[in-house]
Amino acid sequence: MAHRAVLHVDMDAYFASVEVLAHPRWKGKPVVVAGPSLRSVVSACSYEAKRLGVRSGMPLVRAMRMAPEAIYTQGHLHSYASYTRRILRILVGFTPLVEPVSIDEAFLDVTGAPSSPEELAGKIQASVLSETRLWASVGMGPNKLLAKMASRGAKPRGIGRLTPDTMVDLPVDSIWGVGEETGKLFRRFGIRTIADLRVLSRRQLRALLGRSGEVLYFLCRGVDPSPVVPGEEAPPPLSIGNEYTFPHDVRRPAEYLPALSLLAQKVARRARDKGFRGFTVTFRYRLRDLSCHSRRRQLPRATDQRGKIFTVAAGLAREAVGSPVRLVGVKLSDLVPERARQLELFPGGGERVSAVVDAIRRKYGEASITCGRTMVGLPDRSRIPYHGRGTPA
């Protein structure tokens, strides 16, 4: 354990940065991601918003008072999760020992890697940036604790390193597990930095904080034996589906086809992201009386292409829809992993378009490119329900 090398990769202002990718015009502006109601709290904000005093976890109303000019948007968890999967894939390219901690951070154990941790940290930061256009900060240390503290100190867009010796000047609450209450308690005793904390004996700490005090005794000395536990791979999905509820019931193909196109696009993209192709396309619809119906069709070959899924779903819809519908859904099932792929004689078609669309989407964000059909007569729900000058519309 003496020579461990651990990296902590932490995305900078993650949700807000993903939103800026999806809405390039928001670049350089204060962006606040929060829940849908005024009573919600700030879940993330850009550095520009942080400069105005906004913090994660702050009630939305307070943030709006502090930064009325900021752009307020609802979060898109699905989009963040899709970026997270891509980022994790990049990280796994460096070492299989990747432990995802949350949606925007992960530990990597790079002990014994041929490159130095500094070199790896630089490469990781550059790869994540070039493949997702998102900035990560990377912390290096002999264990998870110090790596995490280092990444926090390096933010934004930085690479930092901490050792048991260089951590001493940091404030006590930079150690994980030291929250507001414990911090307050320490301040009463005049303990502000880690160096101050080291003065306390193991016994004293236990007397102050109970068992967690004992743990803190080691943490403040930069000792953290917890291993990097690789995250389990997600089990393969059974199906991939999306649904769309119309603002008012529709019946004519011209009214529901744009929605089907959007759904086919989403389903195909998710299938490609997950590396699956499906043999069955199901069209689902809900009538005015809330009853749900569906029709499915088996394909001769598995697909992950928007055009194919849309054609089949549209055909099923034309057969099925006779009375007004309030919801339509598209599902791809009988999934097979894309490991063995039937090659195409004419690859110029959908496949190449999809590959380009995926590349653009990865680089410029979810909302940067869509099929023209989805823009006709469809209120864009991937856009935000409210944004602008502080007041929800």
């Binding site: 009988d334 097979v336 063995a340 039937q342 090659l343 004689l345 078609g349």
Partner: protein, 372 residues
């Protein structure tokens, strides 16, 4: 008013022919009808699904000329069950009575003006060829026609005729079959994508003799005996298939066709039921076929062929390969390959002088297949 007498076998044969054009499901009630029309001393029959129309004509003794549209499925079912002999038909208004020996039926029909207008015969000079030749060419290509592809052109077969000959191509984007008949020419040249239903009906209805093919605008017609099939062609463009037929495939496997088909059938038992993938391993003195599927097991078979190239491993959809081989003829076939990711050319070892026939198959990229 309509009144006539027909022989039961003639009537049944005529209905067997036109009923093939009846749409299986339709929202247009008039398309479920068969049109009956007297014409001199014959009875003309027609059915259509608007894309494909079949007309035929049988001898009849006409007492009162007239026309009526009758529900096709019912009429066909009744005539199938009639005991044989002569069938008397007579109708007034929209009701037609049919008498045959001791049985009699009355059917409610519709006025003929509710039936779609039938396509007219083209005055173009037809291309004439033996039905047998056409049916063989269709059978050898139509298996590769795509089903339900989002590229409409692939859902039909390309027919190209010029002074050089008659070329037929079908592909679903993964495999391709091409046949070229040098003897059959068209002066001005014509190109059309033929719908699969027309191909099916042709192969099924045509018996012996000759067929006259006429192209007119977006329609093609096939005339044989007293029957005509009209079919709307599929709009192009057809993908650039000439470009994907490789010429530099330098690795050849010459192998017994039946043996390879049988080996593929054995692999199929184990292979992934969704992808049917098999792996062909080729070395000069050692060729083998393998299938593996985690949920079923593994299968391995040694092949006895002649291979004259660098060692190669290549994956296929075994069902595609089997279908191609089944439509070839002759004892041995030649598989010409370049690498594991480009099209394989399959041809007969001893080609027939009256036609050029090749098939292409794109490989399946297997996880362990090296980049070739």
């Amino acid at each position: 008013m309509i009144k006539l007498l027909v022989s039961h076998p003639d009537l049944l044969e005529g209905l067997n022919t036109v009923a093939t054009a009846l749409p299986p499901r339709t929202s247009l009630p008039s398309l479920t009808n068969i049109l009956l029309q007297t014409h001199e001393d014959r009875l003309d029959m027609a059915a259509t699904d608007l894309d494909t129309t079949v007309t035929t004509s049988i001898p009849a003794t006409i007492t009162t000329p007239g026309s009526i549209a009758l529900p096709g499925k019912k009429l066909h079912e009744i005539v199938k069950e009639l005991p044989g002999g002569d069938v008397h038909m007579s109708g007034t208004g929209n009701r037609v009575g049919m008498n045959c020996e001791k049985s009699s039926f009355t059917l409610s029909g519709s006025p003929t003006d509710s039936f779609p207008t039938l396509p007219g015969k083209s005055d173009e000079q037809p291309v004439v060829l033996p039905i047998e030749v056409l049916a063989d060419a269709i059978n050898r290509t139509s298996y590769a026609v795509a089903k339900d592809d989002y590229r409409p052109a692939l859902n039909g077969a390309l027919w190209k005729m010029d002074q050089e000959g008659f070329e037929m191509v079908a592909t679903d984007g993964h495999r391709l079959a091409r046949i070229f008949l040098p003897g059959i020419s068209h002066q001005s040249g014509v190109e059309a994508i033929i719908a699969p239903k027309a191909l099916r009906l042709l192969a099924r209805l045509a018996g012996e003799g000759e067929v006259e093919i006429c192209f007119q605008g977006s329609q093609v017609s096939f005339d044989f005996g007293s029957t005509t099939i009209f079919s709307r062609t599929i709009e192009g463009p057809y993908p650039p298939y000439e470009k994907v037929i490789p010429s530099g495939n330098d690795k050849g496997l010459l192998i017994d066709r039946d043996n390879l088909v049988a080996a593929l059938r054995r692999m199929r038992i184990i292979a992934n039921p969704a992808t049917h993938q098999v792996r062909l391993t080729l070395e000069k003195d050692n060729q083998s076929l393998e299938a593996e599927y985690a949920e079923a097991g593994e299968a391995h078979e040694k092949l006895e062929g002649e291979y004259d190239g660098e060692p190669l491993q290549i994956g296929f959809n075994g069902d595609f390969l089997r279908e191609i081989l089944r439509n070839m003829s002759g004892e041995r076939v030649l598989l010409k390959m370049k690498n594991s990711s480009t099209a394989v050319v399959i041809e007969e070892e001893e080609p027939d002088a009256s036609k050029e026939y090749i098939a292409l198959l794109m490989p399946v990229k297997l996880p362990s297949t090296d980049e070739g």
